[in-house]
């Protein structure tokens, strides 16, 4: 039972509650850094570290932090871990820091961190919060890496900095914001198709559902 719960938390974090592709959160850094697959991977790992640490600390301090000051506390804790990850990148991964460094501070106000803190970490045990943070981070990292790989391949004709197909036709648009939105839209559509989550087979669980805004109230009621 307990093992099943852990497995469900893990799978939900990666697939059914994928922050980028299902919940459409954390789009700003996703669009900014995914001009290369390696940048997307690095940003994803940074977010994973921050999610794990904030999940762990907030879960441990949930009885100490009063509810009326919880949001500033989330911000303090997230900003501290973002500062820590920035310093660690500068010291030990200088090349990656040069590529994504300016966008790392954006993680401090990333809605993925705040939403996970509010919805999960403060209501669950330390182990579950840490696992959930790890799973969400992995899901976000995978999505950013795939998005970065597609944009890099279509925009630069390369993959992880290596030329895959010599003479591959390049379209600079994919390295700019419009190309980022196109690739993100295509990935979200693919994720919805694969997850089978659409208006026809709605299970009535609207949390994190990207279709919620378009869903008729009667359908929601009928599904419930």
């Amino acid at each position: 039972m307990k093992k099943n719960r852990k497995r469900r938390i893990f799978i939900n974090g990666i697939f059914t509650e994928n922050p980028l592709l299902i919940s459409a959160m954390g789009i700003c850094p996703a669009l900014a850094v995914t001009t290369r697959a390696s940048n997307g991977f690095g940003m994803g790992m940074a977010l994973t570290f921050v999610l794990i640490c904030t999940g762990l600390v907030l879960s441990a301090l949930k009885r100490v932090i009063p509810s009326n000051v919880r949001i500033p506390c989330y911000m303090f804790i997230a900003a501290s871990f973002v500062s820590i990850v920035r310093m660690l990148f500068s010291a030990y991964l200088p090349a990656l820091d040069g590529s994504i460094g300016p966008y790392l501070p954006l993680l401090a106000v990333n809605c993925v961190i705040l939403e996970r803190a509010e919805a999960f970490s403060t209501k669950n045990s330390i182990a579950d919060s840490t696992l959930h943070g790890f799973a969400c981070g992995l899901g976000y990292t995978a999505a950013l890496t795939v998005m970065g790989a597609l944009r890099e391949l279509l925009g630069s004709g390369e993959l992880f900095g290596a030329i895959i197909i010599p003479g591959f036709p390049r379209a600079s648009m994919f390295l700019l914001a419009p190309g980022g939105f196109l690739v993100l839209g295509a990935l979200i559509a693919a994720a919805n198709k694969l997850s089978g989550r659409n208006a026809e087979n709605c299970d009535g669980n609207c949390a994190g559902c990207p279709l919620e805004g378009n869903c008729a109230d009667e359908r929601k009621e009928a599904a419930r």
């Binding site: 290369r36 932090i65 009063p66 000051v69 303090f76 804790i77 501290s80 200088p94 300016p102 403060t122």
Partner: protein
């Protein structure tokens, strides 16, 4: 989580702030020397690359720096200068180090910061195909019809970033010529 009186909220936030500050301070203390060391090594490496004849560098103090020029280093064997300059690129600042020999000829250009540029577009100014155009020039121009200076062609898909590098190198040349080229 529980609702609390203002004084409890204050002390809770104070506790959180103290824990956060302590964690950040510890990591800073551990990483700061390494970050400083890396930055110094990177700058020294870049200066040595753009002025290969130098046997070490000394920072030139007490000079008036032109707009955009941030540092000037003189080679210890008086073989030339390494000038650091910054200019606005497409979405952030670009930094270059330009090596200029005692005769006022560019010996090399290295683009040391393109963190604000889009990877695969603005970052193309770091490629040798582009920076090598500057080597050997005494004066530079972006006008192909100008016969009096070396024509510098913009890097592929990086017009704004190329203009920023061009500005940096021009300012570096002006800085050195204003100091008296021959050492």
């Amino acid at each position: 989580m529980n609702k609390a009186r203002p004084i409890q909220s204050f002390f809770s936030m104070l506790l959180v702030c103290l824990i956060c500050a302590m964690a950040v301070t510890i990591v800073y203390e551990v990483t700061a020397p390494r970050i400083e060391e890396l930055e110094l090594a990177r700058s020294n490496e870049a200066r040595a690359a753009v002025l290969p004849g130098a046997n070490g560098f000394t920072k030139v103090e007490d000079i008036e720096l032109l707009d955009g020029v941030t540092e000037v280093y003189r080679a210890n064997n008086n073989s030339g200068y390494a000038v650091t300059a910054r200019a606005k690129g497409s979405s952030g600042y670009i930094e270059t180090i330009t090596g200029i020999d005692a005769g006022g000829v560019i010996t090399g250009v290295k683009v040391t910061d393109v963190s604000g540029e889009i990877s695969g577009l603005g970052t193309n100014v770091t490629l040798a195909d582009y920076t090598d155009q500057y080597t050997g020039a005494r004066a530079i121009t972006a006008d192909p019809t100008d016969p009096g200076a070396a024509y510098i062609e913009a890097a592929e898909r990086a017009d704004e970033a190329s203009m920023a590098v061009f500005t940096c190198v021009s300012n570096s040349l002006l800085q050195v010529s204003g100091m008296g080229t021959v050492i």
